[in-house]
């Protein structure tokens, strides 16, 4: 099945890959913040994304709410879910060996995904809000993808501004740089943990809302996102928040280009190969990270 690959096709996949990449960056930022502050990789991050997607599906089905507007609901809802998870469970394993937090969040993730399946069945849902494409010259840009990208970009920018300039953002960065020193300087690190986990969950939720206009929504949709978000973090360099943004775009780009040559199944494999190769050759990330 060899099709002649033209320049237009390449441009087409580059554009749509980059658009998805913006979303990856947003979701990865949530995982990265939590990891930075608590050294906890939240295996349930993708499951939280799934919950965000269902918030959007329900608001759309019941009230016909614009899915991009529903981000304003899914983010606070997931923030609360995150705060709850942190308060009930995760705070107990912040200082424990890595094994505990990995297994704990894994258990939470399994539970939530299964509960979602029981509550909402495993049927595929979709939000058919915007269809069609903008045609720019020879390439077509899908409308939902473009708007999702725009919203993801705005949210990522907003998150960076919060991190950079607000008091709470500075406290989050200080805690992730050195927990003990931050505490000595008067930062309530447990409160920062709580806010960060909530914030991370909210970013996952926003990601879910935006994914729902592009792809199918079902209880296990979140599985791949923990892996991809982590890859994005590794590409950008662990602890390098702006790096994660470019890591996201890069992953989207690579997947887009791979889709030219490979079937959809093998495109998933590309992300994996990329992770193994980067860990082998440049574990500090392509852009260099903070150690």
């Amino acid at each position: 099945v060899s099709v002649q690959i033209t320049g237009t096709m390449v441009l087409q996949v580059v554009v749509s890959g980059l658009l998805v990449g913006g979303l990856y960056a947003l979701v990865a930022l949530g995982l990265s913040l939590v990891f930075g502050v608590m050294r906890v990789i939240n295996i349930a991050h993708g499951t939280l994304l799934m919950l965000g997607a269902y918030v959007t599906v329900w608001l759309f089905d019941l009230f016909g709410m614009n899915p991009f507007v529903s981000v304003l609901v899914s983010m606070p809802v997931l923030f609360l879910v995150g705060v709850l998870l942190q308060k009930l469970f995760v705070h107990r394993v912040v200082h424990a060996p890595e094994l505990s937090s990995l297994l704990l969040t894994f258990g939470i993730s399994i539970f939530i995904a299964n509960a979602a399946m029981v509550a909402w069945t495993s049927d595929y849902r979709s939000v058919e809000f915007l269809t069609g494409s903008f045609v720019l010259g020879e390439i077509a840009v899908s409308k939902p993808r473009l708007i999702s990208f725009g919203v993801a970009l705005a949210l990522t920018g907003f998150a960076f501004l919060v991190l950079q300039y607000t008091k709470i953002g500075k406290a989050i960065r200080a805690t992730s740089q050195h927990r003990d020193v931050a505490q000595i300087c008067g930062i309530n690190v447990r409160r920062i943990d709580l806010i960060t986990f909530g914030f991370g969950a909210a970013l996952a939720g926003a990601g879910g809302s935006l994914v729902s206009v592009m792809f199918a929504v079902y209880p296990e949709m979140g599985q791949g996102y923990v892996f991809k978000s982590f890859l994005v973090i590794v590409l950008g360099g662990v602890g390098n928040y702006p790096g994660a943004f470019f890591g996201g775009l890069l992953l989207g780009l690579v997947e887009g280009l791979a889709s030219l040559f490979l079937t959809a199944q093998l495109t998933e494999v590309i992300a994996y190969v990329l992770l193994v190769v980067v860990l082998l050759l440049r574990p500090q990330g392509l852009l260099g990270g903070r150690t």
Binding site: F35, I41, I43, F89, R92, V93, P97, E98, L99, S100, L102, L103, L104, F106, G107, I108, S109, I110, F111, I112, A113, N114, A115, M117, V118, Q223, G224, V226, F227, F230, V234, T263, Q265, L266, E268, V269, A271, Y272, L275, V276, V277, L279, L280, P283
Partner: protein, 306 residues
């Protein structure tokens, strides 16, 4: 307690050795499943219980084992026993490919890489349709008697347990535990942490490969969805944790108890099966991180190496 234990173990082994002679097919196949879980939980224990590096994708080794055995039997005409044993070869090769880059690094890299591994292997198996039968899978000749599979699977379960005992007794095991407790300190004491973690991982991957190989013969039909389920990984993790990770008997106890529960209680609640496991994992991590063995250790004087 210390004196009664070997006697009880010997009696149990003897009883198991003759079970196929008088047991019904149902009992024997239930025992095969328990053996399978003992071997799988025990193999997960070898990497995650001893070094603290969590493997979220152990079922991938089981899956490549099933496909290897199935292809050797159907395409190369091998006898099932060597074919099943050969399941460990690609499993270890896969472990080497993943373990070499990921275990050189400290931190969550390994866990995340294992999280994605299963999907990747499944995608590859489905992709190479001509060879693996794609989504239809591979059908093997039906087996005449399950007795031989019983002994093969039981053999793997015993082997995993003996290897675990040997590790605990050996310097190798002490070094692995040092890595788990404080990797930086272990490295500073001159332990080649990357190499030892890799050895533990290779050992840990070999057994699921063999279990998979025998499973393929036992099940008579394999397909990507049935041999790469996430649930298998979840089950081996919870069995090992529940019994007590980093111990010899922990995975055995966990596998026996949870297999019995699975058979008689949870079979009726298939829909919430995973949710129950999720709750169990959270509960064990928070409330009894050392599992049943930890509780027994508090109440009785047990030797260190069990």
């Amino acid at each position: 307690m210390t004196r009664a234990l070997p006697v009880a173990l010997a009696a149990a082994l003897l009883w198991l050795a003759v079970l196929p002679l008088f047991g019904s097919d149902y009992h024997v196949s239930f025992a095969i499943q328990v053996f399978m879980w003992i071997a799988l939980a025990g193999s997960w224990n070898l990497i995650s219980g001893f070094t603290g590096y969590v493997s979220f994708g152990h079922v991938a080794f089981f899956g490549v084992g099933t496909y290897t055995a199935a292809l050797l039997i159907t395409k190369a005409g091998w006898h099932w026993l060597p074919a099943g044993l050969a399941g460990c070869v690609p499993a270890m090769a896969l472990a080497l490919i993943i373990g070499f880059p990921c275990l050189r690094l400290k931190g969550p890299y390994f866990a995340i890489a294992m999280l994605g591994l299963n999907e990747v292997v499944r995608a590859l198996v489905s992709y190479f349709e001509g060879f693996t039968g794609g989504g239809n899978g591979i059908s093997l000749p039906p087996i005449a008697a399950i007795g031989p599979v019983y002994y093969a699977m039981g053999g793997v379960a015993v082997a995993v347990t003996l290897v675990t005992y040997w590790i605990i007794k050996s310097q190798f095991g002490l070094r692995l535990i040092a890595i788990r407790e404080d990797e930086t300190a272990a490295g500073a004491m001159g332990i080649d942490t990357a190499r030892l973690k890799l050895y533990a991982f290779l050992l840990s991957a070999a057994f699921p490969g063999m279990v998979g190989g025998f499973y393929a013969w036992y099940a008579s039909h394999i397909e990507p969805l049935s041999v790469f389920p996430l649930l298998t990984t979840i089950t081996m993790i919870i069995m090992c944790l529940f019994g007590g990770s980093g111990t010899v008997l922990g995975p055995v106890i966990g596998a026996v108890i949870l297999s019995v529960f699975q058979e008689f209680v949870w079979a009726r609640f298939l829909y919430v099966h995973q949710a129950i496991f999720g709750v169990l994992i959270v509960a064990v991590v928070l409330l009894m991180p050392r599992g049943i063995m930890g509780i027994l250790r508090q109440r009785f004087r047990l030797p260190r190496a069990i």
